[in-house]
């Protein structure tokens, strides 16, 4: 059987190579971000983030070897147990966590600190995959089959919200992709996108105008509708949809002004108009755009970025690491990173699709979705296309928890994928 074949034969080397490339580029850029021309510092010095990142990369390698050695059935079998352990940690962190930057989400072991929220992605992915591996579950027909999924996501989401780490929670939106693949009706993500579009429009224009525009469009739709469709209920459907949209507009307005906290509202407003608060919340966005924009086509050169070097861009080695890439390596460097990510994600989808078990496929889509969401939001915020949400760029941003969690997430899937020729299709 498969067990006596070396893992190196079956593992997907393309993904591994992209992973290594990302880590390498990321590490070099972390060094550039923390580099101080006045201090002669080494990339290998544990006193700075670049040196520490190298240590995290080393430990991640150890973890990967462990993952590849452990039997692939372990992950499926222990899915819910892993989920339970992470939930337990999330509860523990609420009481025992140390407070960093206003969020109580870190567990300290001596000089190490770990963020359980980072690992909740893995836990949810495994749990959803396990749940959906039951062939009786159908997302196309039965509404009640959604409830457990909602529960699986909502419980850690709630706990993370309590620890004030909203960014990590928003990542769970990425599970919509896997659910769509597994049969969720297309109108649900459509509604989500329409709602997001309405949200932005509501912030830009006076809500009464939008309501008027929706009524006009609804009228046009009804007028242009074939008579048969109208008689069959198209009329009422359109009217109801129109009212729902107007409701969303007013709901968004209410949500913005009464539900969101001031800094959250600010982050969304800044996305629309960074100059509204150039020294405050807008600062990050403006400075990061300047850093990336000033890179030009080929960049200012390694360690030559003035914008990132002199601390104009905040959180350079973590959430805003892409600024360093953009400033020092220009459009070429940025494009390489974007292409790397898109290739990785596309490759993961291809790998997921070739799985014989539903568990493996769902899990593969979860991994692709999570990495994609991080990529989209993180790079989007540095180039002013997304609100500032503090989530790391996978494999690039400095930080042990995130590097570990993404490495585990990815290599669990690669391990399962490597065993694919020897598993039987069940779903």
């Amino acid at each position: 059987m498969a067990e006596n074949k070396p893992i190196t034969k079956n593992v997907d080397w393309m993904v591994v190579l992209i992973y290594i490339a990302c880590l390498g580029i990321g590490w070099v850029n972390i060094y550039a971000a923390v580099y101080n021309p006045e201090v002669n510092m080494s990339m290998f010095d544990l006193g700075n983030n670049a040196g520490k990142q190298l240590m995290w990369i080393g430990t991640a390698a150890v973890l990967i070897i462990c993952i590849l050695v452990i039997d692939y059935k372990f992950y499926e079998t222990f899915s819910f147990i892993i989920y339970a352990v992470i939930i337990f940690l999330l509860v523990v962190v609420l009481f025992a966590g140390s407070n960093i930057n206003g969020s109580r989400s870190w567990i300290k072991f001596g000089s190490f600190s770990l963020q359980p929220a980072e690992f909740s992605k893995l836990a949810i992915s495994l749990a959803i995959s396990k749940y959906l591996s039951d062939p009786a579950i159908s997302l196309t027909r039965k509404l009640k089959d959604y409830y457990p999924i909602m529960g699986i996501i909502a419980l850690p989401a709630f706990l993370i919200l309590l620890s004030n780490e909203t960014g990590s929670m928003l990542v769970f939106a990425s599970f919509a992709i896997v659910l769509y693949r597994e049969g969720m009706p297309g109108f649900i993500p459509a509604i989500g996108m329409v709602t997001a579009a309405l949200l932005i429009i509501t912030l830009l224009f006076v809500k009464w105008y939008i309501a008027g525009a929706i009524i006009v469009i609804a009228g046009l739709v009804i007028w242009l509708m074939p008579v048969m469709t109208r008689r069959r209920g198209g009329l009422w459907a359109t009217i109801i949809i129109g009212f729902v949209m107007i409701g969303i507009v007013f709901g968004v307005d209410f949500f913005m002004n009464n539900v969101l906290q001031k800094h959250q509202r600010g982050r969304i407003m800044v996305l629309l108009d960074p100059d509204s608060d150039p020294r405050g919340i807008g600062w990050n966005v403006i400075q990061s755009k300047i850093a990336i924009g000033s890179g030009g086509f080929s960049g200012k050169g390694f360690l030559q970025g003035t914008q990132t070097k002199f601390d104009f861009v905040p959180e350079q080695s973590t959430d805003f690491i892409f600024c360093t890439v953009g400033e020092e390596h220009g459009f070429i460097g940025s494009a390489i990173v974007v292409v790397l990510f898109v290739s990785l994600i596309a490759r993961l989808v291809v790998l997921a699709e070739r799985q014989r078990s539903r568990f493996a496929r769902v899990y593969g889509y979860c991994v692709a979705g999570i990495i994609f969401f991080h990529f989209m939001v993180n790079i989007g915020m540095t180039i002013g296309l997304m609100p500032v949400i503090g989530i790391p760029l996978p494999f690039f941003s400095y930080g042990g928890s995130s590097l570990w969690s993404f490495s585990i997430l990815l290599f669990v899937f690669l391990k399962i994928d490597a065993q694919r020729p020897f598993t039987l299709s069940r779903g």
């Binding site: 300047i290 003035t306 070097k309 180039i383």
Partner: protein, 641 residues
């Protein structure tokens, strides 16, 4: 069927990737504005202001130099002043000032340093810098201040001050920036381009907190600041100060020229003020007080004030008459048939005697001959032709035009010609009898003290002059302005000067200026009494000495002081003696001139009677007294927090 959804999903991923690539391409390649913003963010241009050139006198003594001073800058967002009261006490400012200064600084920028107090002296700086450590957000920047070794030459040197909005907008090539200093008058203005030097520019990198992070591109774009050129003047500081002391409590001018070169030895504009007061941080207060002063101390009288030359003009009349051959040295005229009056004096049978006794009818006749040239067929036509010929001859003495001295706002005075009288009377409707008062330097003639000193220099040189100038050397190479090396001829032959000089010697030895003669020095001089509408006559005297080898030519004007012999001549002769021998023998005369208060006779515009001159120094804040004020404040040791 669900499997086909993978294409939707991959398509969505690819779409986001593409959007990001386009966005990056736009930000990094298409939109240039970001790279500009990045430079303005992290690369700062630092301007280095060089020291202004220094000015030396003819003996190599410093007249003007620069003192390092300290500007206090504040960065509003960093500024923390817990006890405003003590802070204000230390700096010697009012709470009001503090608030408005802070407000102005915040209005300019919260994060960039702006000027809080300017020009604290080294002593002030030393006394407060330890205390200022307690207040964050304040820093000192070194700058410099014009300093004058002696309280003299205020109007000649001029002053520097912050560039005005108008000047800023009018400048042809954009050199100056707001709050830059620029020479506003006098030498400082004329030689601004030489004195200011070359500003240096450094590009430095700074981080987000504005902390210096080294030169940009290794400093390859930086330029060094080059100090301004030093200026070398012909001023004799010792004589200048002596002349100043003689002109105390008088209104008027002294101009002394070295005839052989045209260099100005001394130039007094009385009343004057200490130039240091306009170089302090109390500039605006002091300037306002000077501008309000009714005696107009800011008015540079030697080149801007105009007077009728009075009898001093007779010298030129005699020279023109001799040159044109209408009189000979032996020509004599009596008082008979003359509309101008005279005083009692011996007969004037020669030009020398006419000059010596300053005989009005004598020069009436001389002028008559110059105009008519014995042609009395048509007196109207002859007057017109004669006056223009006379005008051209006089013009060669520099009268009625700008001499071109290196000082701003030189007044050209007035020398009437045919056109001038035609405007009053109509062409050929005037003749000699309308203009005869020109013969004795009255009437429509207007002349500045500088020009009269130049006339003395011409006579000393027997026929030529060099444009009078304050500065004769620019920079360490002592570069000379070529205009000052041009010898201007008057067209009067040197032998024609003999009888005039003889008369001038006579005037000092036994004529109108005999009371101020100097033992051992032959001075040739001529008094003048200039009539004017307000109050007593102005006292005028021009002279040069020694006659054998003239080293100094001088003109002294004292307003409302009466006859030329009473005030101007003694002052001129004391200065001549001081310059030639470095000492003064006639102590009694010196004492009298030092003490005499002729200011009380000056009638100010709009007044009928002289008012008692209030001291100009009262309202002024001298840097010394201000320093005292600052130091007198109780400076207590700061409490440590």
């Amino acid at each position: 069927m669900l499997e086909s959804r993978r294409f939707v999903i991959i398509g969505f991923f690819a779409l986001v990737g593409l959007i990001y690539l386009f966005r990056l391409f736009y930000l990094q390649v298409l939109d240039e504005s970001y790279s500009i913003e990045s430079s303005s963010n992290s690369i700062k241009r630092v301007i280095e202001i060089p020291f202004r050139g220094q000015i030396y006198d003819r003996t190599g003594k410093l007249i003007v130099y620069n003192t390092p001073v300290y500007d206090l800058l504040v960065t509003p967002y960093k500024a923390r002043v817990d006890d405003t009261l003590r802070f204000c006490q230390v700096l010697g400012i009012e709470r009001r000032d503090f608030d408005s200064l802070m407000h102005a600084a915040s209005a300019y920028s919260r994060v960039k340093p702006s000027l809080f107090l300017r020009q604290l002296s080294k002593e002030d700086f030393a006394s407060i810098q330890d205390i200022m450590v307690d207040y964050s957000g304040f820093e000192f920047a070194k700058s410099s201040l014009r300093t004058y070794t002696a309280p003299t030459l205020a109007n000649t040197l001029g002053y520097v001050s912050e560039i005005t909005r108008g000047q800023l907008e009018k400048q042809e090539e954009p050199y100056y920036r707001q709050s830059d200093y620029i020479g506003q008058s006098g030498i400082e203005k004329i030689y601004e381009n030489e004195l200011r030097g070359k500003r240096g520019t450094k590009f430095v990198m700074q981080n987000v907190s504005g902390v210096y992070k080294g030169p940009w591109k290794g400093g390859e774009l930086d330029t060094m600041a080059v100090a301004g050129d030093n200026l070398y003047s012909g001023i004799d500081l010792e004589v200048q100060q002596y002349a100043d002391s003689l002109m105390v409590n008088k209104v008027g001018s002294v101009v002394a020229i070295e005839p052989k070169t045209g260099q100005i030895i001394s130039m007094v504009s009385a009343p004057t003020y200490d130039p240091n007061i306009l170089a302090s941080r109390y500039f605006s207060k002091n300037y306002a007080a000077l501008a309000r002063n009714p005696y107009k101390p800011l008015f540079n009288r030697p080149v801007m004030a105009s007077y009728r030359p009075g009898s001093t003009f007779k010298l030129i009349q005699a020279l023109i008459g001799l040159q044109e051959g209408v009189i000979t040295p032996e020509s004599g005229f009596t008082h008979a048939n003359c509309p101008v009056g005279c005083h009692n004096h011996p007969a004037t049978g020669t030009v020398a005697l006419g000059v010596m006794h300053s005989c009005n009818p004598y020069f009436y006749n001389v002028f008559r001959r110059i105009i008519y040239k014995n042609n009395i067929q048509n007196t109207f036509k002859a007057s017109a032709v004669g006056l223009d010929a006379w005008h051209d001859a006089i013009s060669k003495f520099g009268i009625g035009q700008r001499l071109g001295i290196d000082l701003p706002s030189e007044y050209k005075g007035n020398l009437p010609n045919k056109k001038y009288y035609d405007r009053f009377y109509g062409e050929y409707r005037w003749k000699f009898s309308n203009i005869y008062s020109l013969s004795i330097g009255e009437g429509e003639l207007l002349i500045t003290p500088l020009k009269m000193a130049n006339v003395a220099a011409i006579i000393a040189n027997r026929g030529y002059f060099y444009t009078p100038h304050v500065i004769h050397g620019i920079g360490d190479g002592k570069k000379v302005n070529p205009d000052f090396l041009v010898r201007h001829e008057t067209g009067v032959d040197s032998h024609n000067f003999d009888p005039v000089i003889e008369g001038m010697i006579g005037a000092v030895e036994g004529g109108t200026a005999r009371r101020s003669r100097v033992e051992g020095i032959t001075i040739a001089g001529k008094t003048g009494t200039s009539q004017n509408k307000r109050g007593d006559d102005h006292s005028i005297f021009i002279a040069f000495a020694p006659v054998e080898n003239p080293k100094i030519a001088i003109a002294v004007f004292v307003e409302n002081a009466g006859a030329g012999g009473s005030a101007a001549a003694p002052i001129a002769n004391l200065i001549i003696e001081k310059y030639l021998t470095r000492k003064v023998t006639n102590k009694a005369l010196e004492e009298r001139m030092l003490k005499s208060d002729l200011m009380s006779k000056v009638i100010l515009p709009g007044q009928k009677k002289p008012i008692s001159p209030d001291s100009l120094k009262k309202k002024l804040i001298s840097p010394d007294s201000a320093k005292k004020k600052l130091l007198e404040k109780p400076v207590t040791a700061p409490k440590k927090q």
